[in-house]
């Protein structure tokens, strides 16, 4: 009797302890995120003005706005989406729905996992060698978007495959048993059910790409660029602008660095929140 009492007491203690430890870990994460945002707001907030957001830079970039960097980041991200989403989603569909189980497929999966582990600066070098030099796209939005697309592909493929695997096998069986072909089953039943997960993965991948510096270093970014007129123009981009202004300014301009950082984080946050809202609505939606 007393032995069982001791056991119960010990179990309660362990229970309380583990709840505390895991809760503390969660609190650390939440506090870091909040602290980061708060500091960013504190340092960058005062820089934000209409002129800062929409003006051209002047006085060696230390005065004026960051409009060209915002435009450049926007077009690079759009370009990345154009290249990475169709290929990534299609590859995810193949791996989840069509690929035979075997050595070939395992090899493809392994290469994708390896691709995800390649440091982003290596993507930058790869983009320089392939797109900038070999294909002759020069340092441009096109080269940068293609490089960022390579970087983002593993994320998009993996999240698409994951989202498709979440769709119960029963649903595929039901569609096939009604005479639907594989593709009709995928298009009308599997993809709609997996869409929220696929979109979330895509947005996460793209927002990571939007914040990357290294891959665009040699492929798209330029310190002093006018607004781009075509995909073959070089552009200013926010992460690169932050990097340059923080490390090699003509004269120190911390308000530009922190202001640009705040704009970048705010932009990515807005897109992520929009995606999360859409996903929540899509999950609740009655028909699709």
């Amino acid at each position: 009797m007393s032995a069982s009492k001791a056991r119960v007491r010990r179990a309660r203690l362990v229970e309380a302890l583990m709840k505390g430890v895991t809760g503390a870990a969660a609190a650390v994460v939440a506090a870091s995120a909040a602290g980061l945002l708060a500091y960013l707001l504190y340092r960058g907030g005062p820089s934000i003005s209409w002129e800062f957001l929409t003006g051209m830079p002047h006085t060696f970039m230390t005065e004026g706005g960051i409009w060209p960097a915002i435009v450049g980041t926007f077009w690079l991200t759009v370009g990345t989406a154009v290249f990475a989403l169709p290929v990534g989603i299609a590859a995810g569909i193949y791996l989840s729905e069509y690929a035979p189980r075997g050595r070939g497929t395992r090899l493809v999966r392994l290469s994708i996992a390896n691709m995800a582990g390649v440091p982003s600066i290596v993507y930058g070098l790869f983009g320089l060698a392939l797109f900038v030099i070999l294909f002759g796209f020069r340092v441009s939005i096109l080269s940068g978007a293609l490089t960022l697309a390579c970087l983002t592909l593993p994320v998009i493929i993996t999240s698409t495959e994951e989202a498709l695997r979440q769709v119960p096998q029963d649903l595929r069986q039901a569609a096939l048993a009604l005479g639907a072909t594989r593709w009709r089953t995928i298009r009308t039943v599997v993809l709609p059910a997996a869409a929220p997960g696929i979109v979330t993965g895509g947005i996460l991948g793209l927002s990571r790409a939007a914040g990357e510096t290294a891959p665009v270093l040699f492929t798209a970014a330029f310190f002093l660029a006018p607004l781009p007129h075509s995909p073959f123009d070089k552009v200013m981009v926010l992460p690169y602008h932050i990097y340059i202004m923080a490390t090699q300014p003509v004269k120190p301009a911390p308000h530009v660095v922190w202001g640009a950082a705040l704009v970048l984080v705010a932009g990515i946050t807005v897109v992520n929140i929009a995606a999360a809202t859409w996903r929540a609505r899509a999950r609740r939606k009655v028909t699709w």
Partner: protein, 261 residues
């Protein structure tokens, strides 16, 4: 060999091989049109595998070889000329767990007809009402056809799945333990539906519930896999009453009287 009634099967020495392992072998039997045939036997005896031979769902598993002949109204189901889309519109299937699509009740029922290319609203509307009526769920859902199928109860979902399978006007309905995930009242409703349907549709039902087999079927087939190094097979098939009272095979008797399985 060739039957005149639409919806009858003739199986000759049917076998199923997954990769290198033969799961089922030597099954020869006939399935009568407009009757209920129950497939019974312990787990792993090949009932569901045999059922999937009838609408070629084994094709979808990959690396599966089906041997022998499966004739639907005299036509070889496995021949190159047989279009699986057409076959599956003639041989519908209801699964063990209710698996409505994540869409409206209406869209669930019209999925099969739309797959066959039917687009006219009036025609689809008529199919929806007819199918839901035949599955005995029309009165419960007629005012909510645009509602999401997931809002229905489990039993209602399964009857919706029956309606969905009936919407292509199949000659045969395959049911793989259709009531095993349902409560007794829903089970009763499914059994009533089967009794209603059998005058128009051939029904082949896999069941673990021997009372259910005895209650609803006209003919019963007993299947068995006697050891793991031998494929499963058919022990015997006969009229349900005869199978449950005077089976020819001692193994059938042992199973039915509850001595194993």
């Amino acid at each position: 060999m060739v039957s005149i009634n639409p919806g009858s099967f003739e199986l000759e020495d049917v076998s199923v091989t997954y990769g290198t392992e033969t799961a089922l072998a030597g099954v020869s039997m006939s399935i009568d049109a407009q009757a209920v045939t129950a497939l019974i036997g312990p787990s792993g005896c090949g009932k569901s595998t045999l059922l999937r031979c009838l609408n070629r769902m084994n094709d979808e598993l990959g690396n599966v070889t089906v041997g022998g002949k499966v004739l639907l109204d005299g036509e070889n189901v496995n021949s190159r000329d047989m279009d699986p889309v057409e076959l599956r519109s003639r041989v519908g299937q209801v699964f063990q767990r209710p698996n409505p699509f994540p869409m409206s009740i209406y869209d669930n029922v019209t999925y099969g007809p739309r797959t066959l290319g039917i687009r006219a609203k009036a025609e689809l509307d008529a199919v929806v009402e007819e199918s839901l009526r035949r599955a005995a769920i029309w009165d419960e859902v007629k005012a909510h056809l645009k509602k999401h199928a997931f809002e229905l109860s489990g039993g209602q979902q399964q009857r919706l799945c029956v309606a969905r399978a009936l919407a292509t006007k199949p000659e045969v309905l395959l049911m793989d333990e259709p009531a095993s995930a349902l409560d007794p009242i829903s089970t009763q409703l499914i059994e009533d539906t089967i009794a209603e349907l059998k005058s128009e549709v051939t029904i082949v039902i896999v069941t673990h519930n021997m009372q259910q087999a005895a209650r609803i079927s006209d003919r019963t087939a007993f299947m068995l896999r006697e050891s793991m190094d031998r494929p499963a097979g058919l022990v015997e098939i006969g009229n349900t009453r005869q199978m449950f009272t005077t089976p020819h095979d001692k193994r059938t008797e042992a199973y039915i009287t509850g001595r194993f399985g």
